[in-house]
Amino acid sequence: MAGSNMVEDRVEPRAGRAGRGSTGPGSGGDRAVTVTSHVVLGIWSLVVVLPLLWVFLSAFKSNREIISGSPLALPSSWSFDNFVLAWVDEKLGQAMLNTVIVVGCALVLVMLLGAMCAYVLARFEFFGRRAIYYLMLAGLTFPVFLAIVPLFFVLQTMGVLNTLHGLILTYVAFALPFTVFFLYAFFQGLPGEISEAAAIDGAGKWRTFFQVMLPMATSGMASVAIFNFLGLWNQYLLPVALNTKRNNWVLSQAVASFVSGAGYQSQYGLLFAGVVITIVPVLVGYVLFQRQLQGSVSQGTMK
């Protein structure tokens, strides 16, 4: 029980006390509430940061130091051996390159195709429009797992099983429903007069979309792109089932293999270095773009 209750036990009673404290309107009660708030939030921050700090510090340590030393002590020397080993010998560099290629291509494609599809569904009346919309909804709610076995054979038939472009196409297809849904609402919200004006000025449907409507949807596109990026970067199930060739592995597969692979029990430092290499780029990106990201979350909830 201890695992999950640890959080609850720490949070609940203090929150209760916070409530009671506020019934007294005096500033003394107010201060007590403020202090407990900071304690609660501070403890959670520690719960978040400590494991990450531990991983970071351990990545610089030798195996002997990890096993015998105190867990949160600074490494005796800042050695990059583990990182070099993980990057070169464990082919994390290759996996990183694969991930950047796959996620980059899939992201561009899904944003383009998703925007096009959402635009047509949102701005045109035609037979089957509703059917397509509900089909997308079904694609969004069904568990990916149900599709994974037949998908394996569809890709095999197409000859793209265990290839990066096969994985890219799959990523695009599975990220499409979410993208279309989000952008559908967005394109519906854009004023109709503008596309009419463009058409009156002689712009065809293609031009209206690329030069008038798409630029107006930039903020919505940015939000969806951030979510899609995180979703695709974190994707594990699809590559694990459909992309089994070692040289084509993406980061999530490579890191997971550190745990399940035999012989790594004794190679803690290597594993931690692998984890650091995997999370640092995204974490840095997050700290840099956290304002935009928070904006995206609030937009996502306003649907």
Binding site: V11, V154, F174, P177, W233, Y286
Partner: protein
């Protein structure tokens, strides 16, 4: 179309433009619909819908996966499913996850979101506690860490001999967290909760900020304390967001494959952390029972839909459509 419109030509062209819009089958509109709708739809049908349809079909067969021949065996897979003790264990674990994880995540996220937005002062202007920006950024960290990496990190944090948790705990409290039935599932739940709180906290913060400040101020003038404000103002106002959060979290918990696969590859001690997708994966890719695995997949889809339906129904029964303002 791209030539600049000048002088007397303008009205004619404009009329032409309008006519083009009415005449449906020009090259512009045919190519437009083919590419804009046809391309994404073709990809989606081929790689998402078609496999789903096939999966449903295979669930009625005894297909093994490697040979091309199989028999249609009707509902036999589903009969087997009903009597399959391992499947029931996995389903039970998923249900425990779908109840505990959303509940804990939403309660924690809600309290934190309240603290950093309106928990700052009991009287006067509504503000969050000091340094709320810092807490917000830190709490969100786990969301940008891939689920599989969170799993890897915590598989080591919970390691009985060299893990962080046992290293920090005094001798008497040390456990083999993932290796014994009593702690394996709760420990795994903790990892999922750890990964999810930040995102939902941010979601609730955004929702709370959309509530007009006057509402909070009026409640305070009427003498409502913090708990009362949260219970009578905040929660009813962001009810829709809580419902959305519950559905997303529940669907995630009904899957949970990534976490469970990394934390306890084999399904844990006595299958105590085995979840349905893990069982499906095992059946399909190590035991070559694709037909039966598909039946497990269909069962998963049904459970997910039932869950979403339940959340909607409960929300409606408890008066979700009437918002108090």
């Amino acid at each position: 179309m791209t030539t600049p419109v000048t002088g007397a030509g303008a009205p004619a062209l404009r009329r032409g433009g309008r006519a083009r819009r009415k005449a449906r089958w020009t090259f512009d509109s045919i190519s437009f619909f083919l590419v804009f709708l046809g391309l994404p739809l073709a990809l989606f049908l081929l790689l998402v819908i078609w496999p789903f349809v096939q999966a449903v079909f295979y669930s009625f067969t005894n297909w093994g996966g490697f040979s091309q021949d199989f028999d249609i065996i009707g509902l036999a897979n589903y009969q087997r499913l009903v009597n399959d003790a391992t499947f029931k264990t996995a389903l039970g674990n998923n249900i425990k996850l779908a109840i505990v994880v959303p509940l804990v995540v939403i309660v924690i996220a809600m309290i934190f979101a309240t603290l950093v937005t309106v928990g700052g002062r009991g009287i006067g202007q509504t503000i969050g506690v000091k340094n709320s920006g810092f807490y917000r950024v830190v709490s969100f960290f786990p969301y940008v860490i891939p689920a599989v990496v969170s799993g890897v990190i915590f598989s080591k944090v919970f390691d009985p001999s060299n893990g962080l948790l046992n290293g920090l705990l005094p001798e008497g409290l040390r456990q083999n967290w993932l290796g014994q039935v009593s702690t394996a599932l709760p420990s795994s739940m903790f990892v999922i909760i750890w990964g999810a709180v930040g995102f939902y906290m941010l979601l609730f913060i955004a929702a709370i900020k959309a509530i007009p400040a006057e509402t909070f101020e009026a409640a305070r003038l009427d003498g409502a304390g913090r708990m009362r404000t949260m219970w009578s103002i905040t929660i009813p106002s962001i009810r829709e967001n809580i419902q959305t959060a519950w559905i997303y979290l529940g669907i995630a918990a009904l899957d949970a494959f990534v976490y469970m696969h990394v934390l306890n590859n084999s399904g844990g001690p006595d299958n105590s952390t085995l979840v349905m997708p893990q069982y499906l994966f095992r059946l399909a890719f190590s035991q070559n029972q694709f037909g039966y695995a598909s039946a497990v997949g269909v069962a998963m889809a049904v459970v997910t839909l039932v869950f979403a339906g339940l959340v909607f129904t409960i929300n409606r029964l408890t008066g979700g459509t009437t918002r108090s303002s």
